[in-house]
């Protein structure tokens, strides 16, 4: 069965890149535009792994991760954070919020798929 990935990113460009990359790699992709929408679609998306941006309107990545971890059903789902360079502060905050790992931008298809494979069986 195809693995389902929920992506949360406010940038249309990045959303499209994620969509194309993930679909090409044989994932099923569900997309949300910010943390609030991410939490809203969480149940129906029922993802095997989540990829989220940090800087987003309404609810940022940290808040979104915390929200997912509070959900009994999804509290152990792997969450990868899209982060720039090696911004230690952000990674640390994401980890405290409950992120599983991160993908360093600039966006690169190989990195993305590698990271997803690392956290999924």
């Amino acid at each position: 069965m195809k693995k389902r990935v929920l992506t949360v990113d406010d940038s249309r460009t990045i959303r499209n890149m994620l969509l194309v990359t993930l679909n090409n790699a044989g994932f099923e992709t569900i997309q949300a535009e910010d943390g609030v929408e991410g939490l809203e679609v969480l149940e129906t998306a029922n993802p095997d792994v989540i990829v989220t941006d940090i800087n987003m309107p309404r609810l940022d990545g940290f808040g979104f991760i915390e929200g997912v971890r509070k959900n009994d059903r999804y509290r152990a789902v792997p969450i990868l954070v899209l982060t720039t360079e090696s911004d230690a502060e952000k990674k640390n905050r994401a980890r405290q919020a409950g992120a599983t790992g991160w993908i360093v931008k600039p966006f690169d298809p190989t990195k993305l798929i590698d990271a997803i494979e690392r956290v999924t069986a």
């Binding site: 460009t13 890149m17 152990a76 792997p78 090696s86 966006f107 690392r118 956290v119």
Partner: protein, 764 residues
């Protein structure tokens, strides 16, 4: 979708983000300190950087990065966004826009300018708080003082090991002699709580080389005391690999804070190390990976049927929308989901719908339609309107009792036609915002060039008007703004001397007024120097030396060709484009431009433009057996003149007294040369009209036929320009009627008859 399409989307998004950035910065400039405004500004730059990075647009990335860093200082309250700071940022936004355009169109950028701004931005980031600096490196040091990835590292002791997958890949390149490592790995419960999984880590380790794993189960309590969420196992791994220790550590990259990890190089035989360990070796089989990972057991409950159905719906929605845009995708899922009945599904769907609505307002989802298609539709609807009017007319003529159901049906048809027409027009209607936003940049540039301090205030940016009008508005508006700053505003010194705020204000306003859009450009500068204008006009033989001109007439002289009052032709305004060109382009849009000026207080340019170039509400009148249409927007009132109200004035002028004031009477038939002599006003009807700045006039017509919406057919396109006539239309009975150019008529009534060359000059 391929990368080129995504790139296209990226540039579209950049445009939106740049607009967001600029409007956010302007809000900050006006004293807005809402953190969300700062966040939005930050996000805009951040998004551009993110996308640019993905496409390898390095210039854009590096500029955006510096900009972002400075904005981050503002966001974290380390830098007060005062006017000076915002000046730099607004200019940076301009450079960012230039870089984006250059990246898209391959043009060149003023590199000196962007380098200069990078310096200024860095100075801002550094200047305010030297420690929390512009570059990420010192920040890292401050955030993570822990020297080494100690196994007991707390969250705060997070160690930023600079790591990227690139390094991971290149580290495979150099051949390191295969050596055996002993890896002691003891996960904490947090590791599972964050979605990591010991088995997956071990799987990744096994990919590095030959490996033997032993699991230490010593800590495993009896079942009745076992906490299913706790971590009880530890592993001892012996790995023979040529990838080196870094590769091993990188496997634990995501997990190293939530486990105890020791990696040691075993001296010789791996077996020795194992024996030193006081633990009970339990064979550990990686094949259990094929089962569901333990940590996900909680999520492995049976899905109830509702959820399963939701999922199906979702699947369908997602695949159906694959080719559609994201927004459409979400909206589809949202509208389809409620069908399955589950409570959670419908609430989430509703929420989703609202979310996509919000997204819609934020991201303005668009479909691209060829303008030609819209125009064709508009044209067809125009024909429909005419046809419907003709149908109504012939029904009325043939069905005199007027009670039949046909009449009711016709009325409905009329209403529907009108609605269709409005909707079609709305397709072309766009807010003037993009044009207005472009102006703020123009103002900044000219302010920089002239050394003046200028604030642009915009109002009514969301006023909508036909796209054709918007497209053609940018150029004249740009020129007028340049003029306003260059000629209108004084230098800061002069302003201070005049007791004014050294910072000049240029106010750009858009509003709807009686079916037209009125755009006002006001400056608080010195106003028009009438003496100078007059002198210049005399020097240029535009007027006679002894001409007796009203203030308004003098002001309007600046619309004459080749007229410039600046003593020297400056860089900015002296580009060979005068206000006459501005005026002509406004007129070409069916608009009017007018100026009013107050010495010492500034000037106001008022442009009045039609909302659409396609339809018009008009009053159908008869003049000398001709049917004419007078734009309804121009008419203030209509009245039947009484003989006692008519007064002669001079040789041929007549005035009509209306409520104790006198108003010149203009015989339309005479002005248009429909008849040789003036008609008797008492036999006709007077239309009191107001022209832009021209005051009121009473237009004499023979009779009023009625009021209706007419479809404008351009005379210029089909015939040629006729002075005094704005356009033509086809009436319900199939006859062609001319649409009156009220302003031209009024202007012509100021003494001269209507001649082609006069109509332009006189209209000024």
């Amino acid at each position: 979708m391929d990368m080129n399409e995504i790139k296209e989307i990226f540039f579209q998004e950049c445009e939106e983000q740049l607009a967001e950035l600029e409007s956010g910065l302007l809000k900050l400039n006006d004293g807005d300190r809402d953190p969300e405004t700062v966040n939005a500004v930050f996000r805009a730059v951040h998004s551009i950087k993110g996308g640019a990075g993905a496409f390898g647009l390095d210039d854009l990335v590096s500029f955006a990065h510096v900009f972002e860093t400075t904005l981050d200082c503002v966001r974290s309250n380390r830098l007060e966004p005062n006017q000076d700071v915002l000046k730099v940022m607004l200019r940076s936004a301009d450079v960012l826009a230039d870089l984006t355009n250059a990246a898209r169109d391959g043009g060149s950028v003023d590199e000196g300018r962007s380098r200069q701004l990078i310096k200024e931005l860095e100075a801002l980031a550094n200047g305010e708080l030297p420690q929390a600096a512009a570059e990420p490196a010192p920040k890292k040091a401050a955030a993570a003082p822990a020297p080494a990835p100690a196994p007991a590292a707390t969250e705060e002791g997070f160690q930023p090991v600079a790591f990227s997958f690139d390094e991971f890949e290149t580290s495979e390149e150099p051949t390191i002699e295969p050596s055996t490592y002993e890896i002691a790995f003891r996960p904490k419960s947090d590791l599972y709580a964050k979605g990591n999984d010991a088995t997956l880590l071990l799987r990744d380790l096994s990919r590095l080389g030959e490996m033997s794993i032993h699991c230490n189960t010593d800590d495993l309590p009896p079942l009745d005391r076992m906490n299913p969420e706790a971590a009880y196992f530890a592993w001892k791994v012996s790995l023979k690999t040529d990838k080196g220790e870094d590769a091993i550590r990188s496997v634990f990259e995501f997990a190293e804070w939530d486990c105890e990890l020791e990696v040691t190089l075993a001296g010789g035989d791996a077996g020795d190390a194992r024996e030193e360990l006081p633990m009970q070796p339990v064979p550990f089989d990686l094949s259990m990976l094929d089962e569901e990972p333990a940590a996900q057991a909680g999520a492995d409950e049976e899905e109830d049927q509702a959820v399963a159905r939701q999922r199906e719906v979702r699947d369908a929605a997602v695949s159906a929308a694959e080719t559609a845009s994201n927004v459409v995708r979400m909206a589809q899922a949202a509208t389809q989901a409620p069908g399955d009945g589950g409570r959670s599904a419908s609430t989430s769907a509703a929420a989703q719908a609202s979310a996509s609505q919000q997204a819609a307002s934020a991201a303005t989802p668009t479909i691209r339609v060829d303008l030609d298609r819209v125009d064709r539709l508009i044209n067809l609807v125009g024909e429909l309107v005419i046809n419907q009017a003709m149908l109504s007319q012939s029904v009325i003529e043939n069905d005199t009792n007027g009670t039949s159901s046909i009449n009711m049906g016709l009325e409905e048809l009329q209403q529907l036609t009108r609605e269709i027409q409005d909707s079609v027009m709305a397709i072309r209607a766009q807010p003037v915002k993009p044009v207005f936003q472009r102006m703020s940049r123009i103002v900044r540039e000219i302010a920089d060039m002239t050394g003046k301090s200028v604030r642009l205030v915009t109002e009514g940016e969301n006023t909508e008007v036909d796209k054709t009008v918007i497209d053609k508005l940018a150029e004249p508006l740009t020129h007028m703004i340049r003029n306003a700053v260059d000629h209108g505003l004084e230098t800061p010194e002069k302003r201070v001397a005049a007791g004014k705020n050294p910072e000049g204000t240029v106010r750009l306003t858009a509003k709807h007024r009686s079916g037209r859009i009125v755009i006002e450009l006001a400056d608080d500068g010195a106003g028009i120097n009438r003496e100078k204008v007059r002198q210049k006009a005399i020097d240029n033989d535009l007027i006679a030396a002894d001409a007796n001109l009203s203030d308004e007439e003098i002001d309007n002289l600046i619309f004459h060709a080749g007229f410039s009052t600046a003593d020297k032709i400056s860089d900015i305004s002296g580009r060979g484009v005068g206000m006459d060109v501005v005026k002509r382009s406004i007129q070409a849009l069916g608009g009017r431009i007018n100026i009013s000026s107050k010495p010492g207080h500034g000037s106001v340019f008022t442009m009045s433009l039609p909302l659409t170039l396609a339809v018009l509400d008009g009053m159908v009148v008869t003049v000398a057996n001709q049917t004419l249409v007078v734009p309804l927007t121009a008419i203030v009132e209509t009245l039947q003149p009484e003989a006692s109200a008519i007064h002669s004035f001079g040789a041929s002028q007549r005035l009509i007294s209306i409520r104790n004031s006198f108003c010149p009477l203009v015989d339309v038939g005479r002005i248009l040369n429909f008849r040789a002599s003036q008609a008797n006003p008492v036999d006709g009807v007077a239309l009191l009209v107001e022209s832009e700045g021209g005051g009121q006039r009473a237009l004499m017509v023979d009779a009023i036929q009625g009021q209706r919406q007419v479809v404008i057919k351009s005379l210029e396109a089909n015939y040629t320009h006729v002075p005094g006539i704005a356009a033509a239309t086809i009436l319900g009975d199939g006859r062609v009627a001319l649409i009156l150019d009220v302003d031209a008529i009024v202007a012509a009534s100021r003494g001269q008859s209507l001649k082609p060359e006069m109509s332009l000059a006189a209209a000024g």
